[in-house]
Amino acid sequence: MPPLALLAPVALPLAAGGVAAALGLAGLKPGRAIVGAGAWGAVLALFLLWLPVRSTQELNLGQLGFGASLDLRLDGAAFAFGLVILVPAAVLLTLQPRSWQEGTVAALGVGAAVLAVEAGGVLLTALAGGTAATLAVIQLDVEDIRAPRPPWGALLAAWLALSWAGAILQVVSGTEVYAAVPVSALTVPVFSLLAAAALMASGLFPWRGWAARLWSRPSLRAAGMAVATLYPLGFYLLVRAYELGDGRYPQPILGVALAWLGELVALGVAVRAQAASTRREYLGEVIPGFGGFALMAIALGTPVGLVAGLVMLATVGLLAACLPLLPDRAGPASVLAIAAAVGLPPGLAFGARVLGLEATFEAGDFLGLIGIAGAATWVISMVAAARAIGLPAGRGHAANETFPRIAMALAALILVAGPALPVILSVFAIPAQAGVMLDAAGSLGGGLVSVNTVQTALPALTLFAPLLLLGAIAYGITGVFRARGQARPPVFPIPGAVAFGRLRDAVRSAAVPEQYRSIVNPRALEMAAAGGRPLLWLAGLAALAFAVNR
């Protein structure tokens, strides 16, 4: 493949978006096929580029002018994240009906997100990620301007923070290219910026983040695309940070803090999920829950943790395609999706979470405590999932954007992929991990049958495959759950929710006391400043003169 082919995964969705826009402007209805084809073409291009060589490929097209060069790089991490973004995007773009404007913006967003993970340097990632965020917000607002969407300010702040991190790297080390930044340049402040960017970009907070709020939208077309394209990008930054730091974060405490944060995110999600009043509300918490676990695993700083996190993100990708296609009614599709999402053994999510928790113990020191907390959180998630099966459906989205069979197939894929965990690790996660943690290459073994870590071996194929068969037989005999949707009280009230609500109301209703309003009068201030009064001007001059001669 010529190096220029590295542009293909980015260019194909962009071209598809361009064609859709041109046809739309010409008054034709481009339909979903064009943008879908663009995304699938990008998936194909990614496979064709990576699988034959399985080594890093680079393309440098020169300086862009703002400190970054158009430097593309396809390595294991880029391949993995590219797939996590492209596959759900392709599924959703192919199946869900969209206006040409929505299709165009969505396709452009996909291209931008892929560029963010294919970028060779921090600044290009920031530009592309920022573009993807902008387009996602626009896409969501085009669909329904009154429905919840990610706070634009937080997304902008995230990518500006990353830009600043890139700028610091350039100033300190002369480069912001991932592969060239010296280890010493990744200082604690730079990493903090990068981590803040990552957390804000993916909304990884213990409270209800944007990825959960999106699920309360009437339609899930744009929400699915936003989650598919934006959510993995924050994790991508945390993974790339390992490459910048030669396989580790600048201080171990930073990884521990992030891992604890991931645990808190997952716990927050689980607590909210068990109190969900509808199944839609519960499903909204599924992906953030995975995000919390993935953050916990990735931040541990061990190869096992990283690959576990990557597999969780792969599951996120599949769920991002599955959940928007799921109809808001009870049935086997919902049950299967919930089972896949919660990490029912022996699914892919189960294997990944077990690996993630294992990693906490194997990381040593006190990190095992995170694992204990993680296991407890997982149990709450399971409670929430079991409860959600019998909840009322919640707000129904249009039938023409749901595809229960495809959703069921995707959920089933997550479940049956459990035995294939070693294969997924070998093809998908370990190359990515090896690319960013060069010293830790080969620390995971087991081939295509089991996953061997330092302490244990997870016999994924030989244990999970018969278990899967047993499960199928068992449910074949007993039948699946036929729960009638009915309102159910939360398993336990959300701790501090009332106090938090009170505080929020107090903050919202805060106002300057009546007697001081004449002092803090924005209108009067504006009139004073913008009234063109010479006295103020002379005072300004005097102030400048004083300040300079002080």
């Binding site: 053994p345 077990v354 294992e358 113990f361 204990i372 079991a386 068992a474 005999i477 336990f492």
Partner: protein
């Protein structure tokens, strides 16, 4: 390929026969019958109706837990057993049943706290050794680690009666009467008792004596819980609730502190 097929066969055997489904059913049904005999004063035998999806789910979870036990002659190699799988899946089994059946859940908040305490009892001893093999944890006899192990074992013993609903957390009037045979609970007896044996006693040898030793300890644990359960039933729900709120939860915090201190001292 032969190795894979052979491994598939042995793992299937473990899941279905020993220490999996068949063993769980035999051990669990016997123990459950004994338990109902003790508390109800009459023999209650399992019904012949087709198992519900809830029972299927619990069975599905518990067989996965059972194959993680350090039972002698377990066909699953010791390196492939994992305490995380055992702990989390056994946790699912309890809660899946409670949440799926949409029954009145007795004091769910307190139950969750007890669940967390139990998880601490299972996983706490794994923090310092950094090992997740159940038999390795059972075999830990390093003096400096013994306090954690003993404390965790005691916590485990305290938590399981509530998780298996042997101890009442709500007054009898609020609970549904349980005259029938509780199949789901029956399926949990071996995983809970066996896991205790695995984690807190040195592993038994792969011989007849070893089998006897393993099941003797496991049965003894079951008997202890049956005895304690019967005792507590007489004292009433208020005492049980008070015990968990005022004693077990603070004790779990103490166990956590011991785990942290031990880890700190042995760094």
């Amino acid at each position: 390929m032969t190795q894979i097929l052979s491994a598939l066969a042995t793992h299937s055997l473990a899941l279905v026969v020993y220490p999996g489904l068949l063993t769980i059913v035999v051990f669990g049904f016997a123990t459950e019958i004994a338990w109902t005999r003790v508390i109800q004063g009459r023999w209650v035998l399992p019904g012949r109706e087709r198992p519900s999806p809830v029972v299927a789910t619990v069975a599905f979870f518990t067989i996965l837990v059972a194959v993680q036990l350090a039972a002698p002659f377990n066909p699953v190699p010791s390196a492939e057993r994992n305490v995380i799988v055992a702990a989390s899946v056994l946790g699912f089994a309890v809660w899946a049943e409670l949440a799926l059946t949409q029954e009145f859940m007795p004091a769910p908040g307190l139950m969750l706290i007890i669940q967390f305490c139990w998880l601490l009892a299972v996983l706490g001893p794994a923090v310092q050794p950094e090992s997740l093999r159940p038999q390795v944890l059972g075999n830990v006899l390093v003096p400096s680690l013994l306090p954690v192990k003993v404390a965790s074992g005691f916590l485990y013993l305290l938590c399981v009666p509530a998780l298996m609903r042997l101890w009442p957390l709500t007054p009898p009037g609020e609970r549904r009467s349980r005259a029938r045979f509780d199949t789901a609970r029956a399926l949990c007896w071996l995983p809970y008792c066996g896991l205790f044996t695995t984690l807190f006693f040195p592993p038994s040898a792969d011989d007849g004596l070893g089998v006897l030793r393993f099941f003797a300890i496991t049965l003894a644990v079951a008997a202890l819980w049956i005895f304690a359960g019967a005792l507590m039933l007489r004292r009433g729900a208020e005492v049980a609730r008070g015990l968990y709120r005022r004693a077990v939860a603070p004790y779990a915090v103490l166990v956590l502190v011991v785990v942290v201190i031990t880890t700190f001292l042995m760094r």
